[in-house]
Structure formats: C-alpha cells, structure tokens
Assembly symmetry: D2
Homo-oligomer: 354 residues x 4
Amino acid sequence: MSVKKNFYSDNVSGAAPEILDALVAANAGDTAPYGADPSTERLQTRFAELFETEVEVFPVGTGTAANGLCASIIAAPYGAIYLSNAAHLHGSECGGPEFWSGGNARTIPVPSVDGKIAAADLARMVDEAGARAATDVPPRAVSITQGTEASTVYTPTELRSLAEAARARRLWVHMDGARLANAIARLGSTPAEATWKAGVDVLSFGATKNGALAAEAVVFFNRDLAQTMRYRRRRGGHLFSKMRFLSVQLEAFIAKDLWLRNARHANAMAQRVREGLAQIPGVRFRGPTEINFVLVTLPQPVWDGLVAEGYSFSRRGAPSEGIIRIACAFDTTEEAVDALVATAHRHAGSRQGT
Amino acid sequence: MSVKKNFYSDNVSGAAPEILDALVAANAGDTAPYGADPSTERLQTRFAELFETEVEVFPVGTGTAANGLCASIIAAPYGAIYLSNAAHLHGSECGGPEFWSGGNARTIPVPSVDGKIAAADLARMVDEAGARAATDVPPRAVSITQGTEASTVYTPTELRSLAEAARARRLWVHMDGARLANAIARLGSTPAEATWKAGVDVLSFGATKNGALAAEAVVFFNRDLAQTMRYRRRRGGHLFSKMRFLSVQLEAFIAKDLWLRNARHANAMAQRVREGLAQIPGVRFRGPTEINFVLVTLPQPVWDGLVAEGYSFSRRGAPSEGIIRIACAFDTTEEAVDALVATAHRHAGSRQGT
Amino acid sequence: MSVKKNFYSDNVSGAAPEILDALVAANAGDTAPYGADPSTERLQTRFAELFETEVEVFPVGTGTAANGLCASIIAAPYGAIYLSNAAHLHGSECGGPEFWSGGNARTIPVPSVDGKIAAADLARMVDEAGARAATDVPPRAVSITQGTEASTVYTPTELRSLAEAARARRLWVHMDGARLANAIARLGSTPAEATWKAGVDVLSFGATKNGALAAEAVVFFNRDLAQTMRYRRRRGGHLFSKMRFLSVQLEAFIAKDLWLRNARHANAMAQRVREGLAQIPGVRFRGPTEINFVLVTLPQPVWDGLVAEGYSFSRRGAPSEGIIRIACAFDTTEEAVDALVATAHRHAGSRQGT
Amino acid sequence: MSVKKNFYSDNVSGAAPEILDALVAANAGDTAPYGADPSTERLQTRFAELFETEVEVFPVGTGTAANGLCASIIAAPYGAIYLSNAAHLHGSECGGPEFWSGGNARTIPVPSVDGKIAAADLARMVDEAGARAATDVPPRAVSITQGTEASTVYTPTELRSLAEAARARRLWVHMDGARLANAIARLGSTPAEATWKAGVDVLSFGATKNGALAAEAVVFFNRDLAQTMRYRRRRGGHLFSKMRFLSVQLEAFIAKDLWLRNARHANAMAQRVREGLAQIPGVRFRGPTEINFVLVTLPQPVWDGLVAEGYSFSRRGAPSEGIIRIACAFDTTEEAVDALVATAHRHAGSRQGT
C-alpha cells in the first residue's frame, strides 16, 4: 500500500486488524439473533470492568444513532439539551435530536472557545431559560463532546464544573464520546474518571473513528435512564439481527487497551504534523492540537501544492477563513506524516528542519 | 464445526464466505467516508444492471431501518399503509412506521391467508376508507412482503393484481423484500419481473438473512420518491461513515448470483425438512413451504425430544396452537437436515423411510 | 325561528341561552390571561364538587384536542390504545393520536357490537399482544366512548368489567365523554359512579355537542397523569389567552344540572323520533336508541320526501347500507320532532297514529 | 366598571362589543358543522376583499396553533425557520414548531435590535447554513413578527429587504401577525402592502389581542402551501365543530375597519402613556413605542407605588434589568391612562406637567 495522503477524516481508514480478526472469528457457528448471543451478553461484563461500575451497554451502528437515542431519552418528556455550538449532535446530524424524540427535544447552542463550553455560560443560559420555563422549552440536559470537534479536551476540572452546574439545575449529563479514546489518551485518566466519576449519566461511546468497521455503543451509567432504550433502539433500526458482529468489534476494541493504544498513536501523529508544519512561515494554527487532528491555515502555495499532489483534507468554518482539518487516525504512519510535512515544506519553499 | 441444530431463524448464521472475503478485501486503503467511496458509487451501477433499469440505491444497516424509511416516504405527507396482518412492518418493529414518520404514518392490517393479502380485500378496504378520508387517515400505500412470513410467495399474477388495485387508487407500492431472494428463487422470475415490472415503486432489499453480516438496501424504482431519502437516512443514523463496508457486502451478495444460489439452497433445505417430516404420524403442516422455512405442529414427544437434544426453533401464533417455525438458511447442510429429520423420527417412534 | 329541519348532528345548534349569558357576563372587566383568572381557578372546585373527588381540569377548545392530549399521555412513553372500531378517536380525527404523541401512540380497534366493546375481547387481544410486546407496540390503555357513536351506553357492569380487565393488565382507562351527559342522563348514575368509581383515570369531558359554543375539558381523576399536561396543552395551541371564555361556558354547563337537563331532553327527543317512525312500514332501526340519536334505514320514498322538504341527516356506514343518523340536540323541540315524524308518515303514505 | 389598572397584557381585556354582538347574533338557527356553514364560507370572500387578492383562510382558536400549523408547513419536508430571538414562535410556545411538525422543524434565532432582524444577518446566516446543508438542518423559511414583541414595526423597506433575501435563497416567508393590526395602523399601509405585496406567503392573522374572544386565522397568499392544511388543522384539534362562532368573530373584526380602529386606539394610548411618563426623572424607555405597549424601567418608588395601588404589568428580560411592559388594548381609555400617569407622578414626587 502506498503512503497515506488522505487526511480528510479519521473515518477514511479501514478497520484495525485486531477488530477485523474478531469479526472473522465471530463468523463461525450459529447463535441467537437480536443480541441474545454470548458476545453481546459478555459485553455487559467487559464494559462494567472497563468503567469499574455497573453499566447497561447497547451496541448501535453509528454515532448519529447513539446520539439521537441519548437525546430522545435525556430530553424526555420534552426539553432542551445545551451543547457547544460546534457539537456534531447540533449541526451535523440533520436534526437528529428532533427526529429521534418525535419533536420533543431542542438543542440550544452555547458559545464555545476552542470547541469547549464553560460551566458559567451553561449556568447563566439555563438559569435564564428556567425563568421562562412555563412558556419556553425547559432545560433538561447538557451534552459534552469529549474530545471536541476542535481537537481539544475538557480537563477533569472543567468537566466536573460542567457536571456540577448541570446537577445543581437538575440536568442530565450526556457525553458524546465519539473521540473519547483520544481524550482519555490525552488526559491519562481512567475511563471511570473521565465519565461517571465526573458526573456523566450516559455516554455515546465511539469506536468507528478509532478502528472499528461500524460499531458504537450507548453506555448508561445511570441505569434508570435505560428503561425505554430497548424499544427505542429496535424501532430506530439499530437492533441488528446478527448483533454479535457489532459486539465483537466493541469487545476487541477495548481488549488489551487497543482503543487507547490506537488513540495515543493518532494523537501523536497529529502532534507530529503540527510540529512539522510549525516551522513553515505563514502557517497559522487555529487552536490547540490536543487530540488527533490539526486545525490550521496554510499559505496558498502550500495548500495548492498538497492538493496537486493528491492530498486530501476537510475544510472547517466559513470558506473565506481557509481553515483546514488534518485528521490522523490509528493507522496513520510516521512515514506518512513525514511525507506530508516534507511536501508542505517543499511547496513553501522552506527547508525543513533548518 | 458440529452439525447445525439451531433452526430458530435465518438470522442465526454468520456471513457467507464470499461476503466476508469482500469485507476483508475492502479494508485496505483509505477512501472517502459517508458513502462517497467507489464501492458505494459502483453499487448504483450494479443494481441498475441487476434490475435492468435506473434505480437509486441506499444501503442501510437493518431491515427495520429500510422499512421505516420507506414507510416515512410512502405515507407522506400523512396517511395509511395497507399490509398483511402478519407483516413484519406492522407487528414486529415496535411501531417503526409511526416513529420514522414522526406520527404521519398508520399501518392498516388487511386479513391474510397464508400470509398473503388479496387485491379484492385491499380494494374494498381502501375504497371504504377513501370515502371517510376527510376525517380518517387517508390511504397512501400498500406494502407487500415477498416472500411472506408464512413461507409463501405471491405469484406474478397476484402481485400484478395488487399493484393494479393500488395504482387505480393512487397508492404507492412498497415491497418488503427481506426474503426477496427466496421468492425469486422460487418463482424463477427475473429481479425486474419480480419488482418494478409488477408495479413496485420502492423495495426494502434484504441481504442479512441470506448471507450478509449486516447490510440491507432501499431501492427506488420510482426515483422521485428518493428526494428526501438522503437526509432521512442521515438523521436516522443509517448513513455509515465507513459505508464501503456495507456496500461491498451488497456487491458481493448480488455478484455471480450468490444471493439466488444461497436462496435456492435454503429453499431446498426447507423442502427437504418438510418431506422428511411428512411421514411422521401426527405432524401437521401449517400452510405451504414455498421458501426457506416450514411452519408445522409436531407431536409432543417429537418436540420434547428435539428440544432435549439441543434443537432450537421459534414459535408462531398463540402458544396454544403449538406452531413452530423451522428456518433454513444459506448454510444449512443436507447433513444437518437429515440429522434433524432422523431425530424427529426417532422420537416419534416411527421408522424413517419405511 | 322556523322549526328545526337540521338533524345532521348535535353540532348544528348554537349555544344554550344559559351558556351564552355566562359568556356575555364574563366579558366585563379585566383579568389575568392564560387561565390564571378566577373563573378558571373556580372550575377546579366546581368539577371536584361535581365528581365528588379531587380532580385536575384543563379546558380545551375541541374534543379532538381533548382526546389527542389524553392519547399522548396514556400511551407514553410509547404504546397502544385499545378502543372500539367505531371510536371517534380512531377513525374521525385524522390520526390525532399519532400526531399528538409524536409517533408514540397507536390505536388498535376492538370489534364492537352496537358501538360497544366487550371486556373479554379486550382481555384476549391485550393478552395476545402482551406476548409479543418485545417487538410489537405494547398495550398501554383502553379508551371507552360513553355514550357511543351508535347511540348506546355502557352499563355500570359493562364499564366495571372493562376497567377491571384493563387494571389487571396495567392499562390506563380513558373515557371519551363527548356525550357523557347523555349517557349519565340515560343511566341515572352520579357523575362519580359513571367515571372514576368505575375505574376511569382520565376523561374527555364534552360540552360543545350539548349546549356550549366551544368548550371541552380534560379531567384527570388520576392526577399523576396530569404532570405533563400543562406544556402539552400550550404547545398544542389549547391554552387560550382569554381562557375565562372557555371556563365560564363549562361552569354554566354544569351549574344547576344544565348539562343533564339538556341531555335528558335530547335523549327524550330521540326516543320520540324513534317511536314516531316505528309505525312506518319498512322503517328499520339499526340498533338501540339509548341516547340522543336514532340510527335507521328509511324506505326510499320517505328519505326522498324528507330531503326534498329540506330535512338534513348524516349517513352512517357504507353508502349501500343506507343508514342515516337522526341527531337530536338540547334545543330540538317536540314540535320539530312531531313535524319530522308527520312528514315521514306523509311520504310513506301511512297515516300516523292509526 | 372601575378604571383599568391591569396593563399586564393586551389579553386581559374581554371582547369588543361589536364582536360579542356578532357572536350572540350567530347563535340563532341551525347550520352545518365543521366550517361548512355560510359564515365560514363568507369569510373567504371577506378576506379576499380585505387583502385584494385570492386567499385561503383557516380560522383557528389560538395564535400558537396558527403559528405551529404554519411552521409545520413552511419547514416541510424538514428544515429550519429563521426568526428573531425574541419571536413568540421561538421562545413562548413550548417548542410548538417541533411539536406541530413531528420533529421536522427547527427554529434558528437571528440576533435582533428592538425585536427586529435585518436582511443582512438573515442572508449571512442562511448562506453559512446552506453550505452545511448536507449535514445540518437546511434553511427553509423566515418568520417575521409584525409588529414585534418590542413594540416596533418593520418598515415597508425593511420588510421587502427581508423578503428579497428570503426569495433569493428559496425560503418561504411567514408573518406572525398577532399584532398585524397595530403594525398596519402605525404604518398606514394597506393590508395588501403589508403582507403579500411585500412578499409574505402565509400569515398568522391575529384577532384575540385586539378585540376577539378567541379567534385567529391562517391566511395563505401562496395557496399551494395550503394543500395539507385541512388535515393538519383537524388532527391538531382546531377544526371547531361550531366553527361559525370563530368565523363571525373574524368577520366582525375586519368589518368597518374595526380591527384598525381598535389598533389605532391602542397604539395611541401607549403613546399617551409614554408621553405621560417621559417627564418623570429616572424613567428610562427601552426602545421605541411604535405600537400598543411601552417597554420601560421605572424608578423603584414609582414601581412600588403603582403595584401597591393595584396596578399590574408584565416583566421583560432578565429580572435584574427591571424592564416592564405596559400594555394597552382596544378598550384602554384615556381616563385610565391619565390615572396611571398621575399615579406614577405622585409616587415619583414629581409634579405632572410642570
């Protein structure tokens, strides 16, 4: 295989070998359908061990489904979910919360800095809305993206502040953990510390971006919230008949720290990209690089040159801003990063490392 | 691997080797996410060839999603879908049509014989409802399950009659083809004859029960109906980020007639089960065996004996009726069928073949 | 005013004088909007007295709104409502239950005789569905129409049987009391006996058909069910800003037994119609006349003659059956009934009373 | 009747005498139910005359219903409605747009100055969203409140600019005209100029705040949009059985310019309040007074004194800001305004008019 030039998304990769192997191994033999199989049942134990507490785990096919199902539950019977104005759940899921909730959920964007919202802003907005709750949509939940769409990570202190502000206002705390692995790899905390110990009630646990083919999970730390999940998932078309094929992906993902090893690697590669580009005059980073991608504005000749040589990135923000996202994944190699950096230097007319 | 004793469902099997191979092969290299990859684009051509007409194909993860998405479209802006009282869409998807349509779809069960509804009943019920349409939910569509939950198949004549009754009343025609392969294998018709040439507007195309891991598709013959599908699928969580992994399953499924070969085999195995059991006194078949399962009432000692030896079946109808479904799949072997039949004979005290 | 010839519906009349007077009286002075006014607050006490128990009362504008709001509550978080196949809520409200519940409610018609369902049928259908509840829409409630669309009334025994069958299966009991007054007038029971003492949890209390301009109410006997009503009513557009104008209608309606006096009169007039027509050869009554309308098939010359003279009725059932409904209201006079009967006799060629 | 001290809302009044008279007059005689009566049919003509164009008019009971029905139509099949962050439809209807649309509508608040949004902001936000439309909720409509919740009025130029920005982006234009009469009275334009000639597709036409008991209407200038209205209104519980009682209110409202006379008077009374208070030191007006209410911060002794004497106002904005709304209605007398102003002066320790 040639060196990776596709830095468009952490979704452009295939699956990690360990996960593909698990899938192939799961193919043998017959088993009960619709999640009554041993792999799916075993998953409950595996996640309880991982998070050091009793949980209820529901595998689903996509992050949008995980988020939508969570939204329908935390907004019930009707209410508003506060989240970053950059949150995937708000602006990238075609109105998923409204759809999954049958018109009972509304998302309220909170201003963010580097993708993160602050407890003080949450508190203020919820308090103002609470005073209007007889006529307006009442606050019910906060959704926190960890790590964020801006390559940042909430610190444990920030997380606890948000959760405390939420608790004090009787809001449920949802975490969109599409890149939870990357965040934990950055923070060095335990999965428990990063979630329920910080106040999270329910988690969209991501695996696809970090090595699975197609598998995510909803993890309930607050198991009372899980009561309606069974039918919501089924009617929403995410109770897979051959569920074991999702479950074994998730099992392999968390076995032997694969998810954290993958995430550490992806984060390191993004760091390597940043360091490599930093020396090019005119390169302007747009915020920190705490997880697996770099937000940056490149000098026009660099951008043109990379595209001409077949490199691919996604754009962020308004076109006029010229921000691109360089996304690394579990399978991005040092060699690929170095080639990218060298190519950028070449087109910048700069001499790398000098 | 030991001989199959699990006849509970055609979903208890793993994937066909050809499909698993395609999945593994798809893992190499990077590609565009969210269905902009070459495999997914190629699928449009493959399905157009298969059905001998232009189509729009949308891979999704489950049959419930395919059916729900179709229901939301054919009932729009609001209306009733007529279907068999045995239809999966009506009674086995936790109210999927209501959910996917945001409360705009209602399913109206039509009485069925051996799982099939008759054009005359459809016409009568729709006409009566049409007269009340100012106040009641107006008829908008018919959904036909091919093959049915009762192991039967609509003949081309029956299908055309239904579609004509529908057309005359301006109803859309949906086909739930979770077992379309089995039906076509039985009928010997072309895919085109079995669907759009008979008047079908949109099809839930099943693959999972017949050899895929997890892949279904919505196929629009009436492409005007596809206009809202893009966002409906995304918000419903069935636009997979690594979509190629669904697309290659579907591609392998229809390549080299795999889907029909698999279905023919499963049908033949069900026939073999039926013939094998027919000679046991007290065995009572509940309807025809036209596709891949047998509905039957067994003498109590036979049932008890099979269960005691580890055999597994699903029940159908009210418990008092004692009907079981013996489901065969693409990977059910003659050896496994013969072992099942021999075991049944043994517990019946009969001598097989004499 | 000329003698009434419009027997199309009990909705063709204007308002009772007592109610119009109350409305005019309510016009003086300023008051708090949105139901915080004294009339609306007083209504809580008036209904508590009427029903001899604590209740929560929510005035709304129409019976469809009352029923839809109730449906959204009793089906929550998602489920099926069992009711007569003749129920207004099922077939005459354009899919109101699905709409008000955001796709969470399904209505399941139970076969009826003279508009009434039997406890045994309810029990059987719910038990069968309960066994499928993991995949099908789970039973949550029964909705009983009292009096029915067929001019019949559930006896206290029938009502208790239904409610007991419901309780035993953990179903909520809703009563659609669009014509509750007519039923109570017929039964001679107290309002308490006719509702919560028989097991009713929540009631759509009708007034418009029986003398109000436009006022109905949802009455919660089970006050836990009322928790979400406040916002459901507001977003549904039934929290009227000048709510007092609904409340005073309801107050006048139940004051001094007006509602029962009106209903007794309407019932008596229907009885008088029936007795008057009974002597005409070829007249065929279609079921009992227990409340305020008569279902009947008339000889063609009688029908033609009445229509030619400007009489107006509504049709019921399939057109081929020729069933008409002769509806009497609170303001139908003996004179008007006698004129109708005489006209019918004249066109029948019969001599009335001989 | 004592002098009015209730300036809480324009909803605290009863009905205008002309409208009450029309209601009483409508009570005589029988008529067809559900809007098939002559008054309702006549309304089509009356509104066509009023607006100098063909329209479709649907009476409903409340403004929330009118707005919710419009939202469900203009957002179809799914999309976003842009509106002022102060709009009633956004923050005062308990999530009505999401509810009425079954989860298909989202409201997007545009920053406003004095309650009004600017065409440039609308254009910019829609353009940015349009670029994300594959994943985000696509822009479909703008909703303009005329006059606004801030006692302001869009000028014809402002209105045309908004409508042109909308048209250029293929957005429908809705007008929430709960106080359209006050706006037209202020502008001196014709009803046609104020609506469809400026680009409005569909109008929530308000009457209740300005003299009706309970009657609003949805007026379609773009009659194609009206196609689904019939069933949406019925299932939403706003097809009143005795519809004539709504229709005659609306008819009397627009007859002989009553609506404009009422509005001119209310506007003038608000102006009189403003002029009367202006001379009190420390009184701070919060924006213009272009229609029938005054937004103002009063010195604490004035506020305390007015409340102590039984005056009533509503608060606006955050409590710390201390903004009150003094609302005048069609029946607010000069005497009442002068008494309010004199009382305020007395508590301010100032001498009025000196």
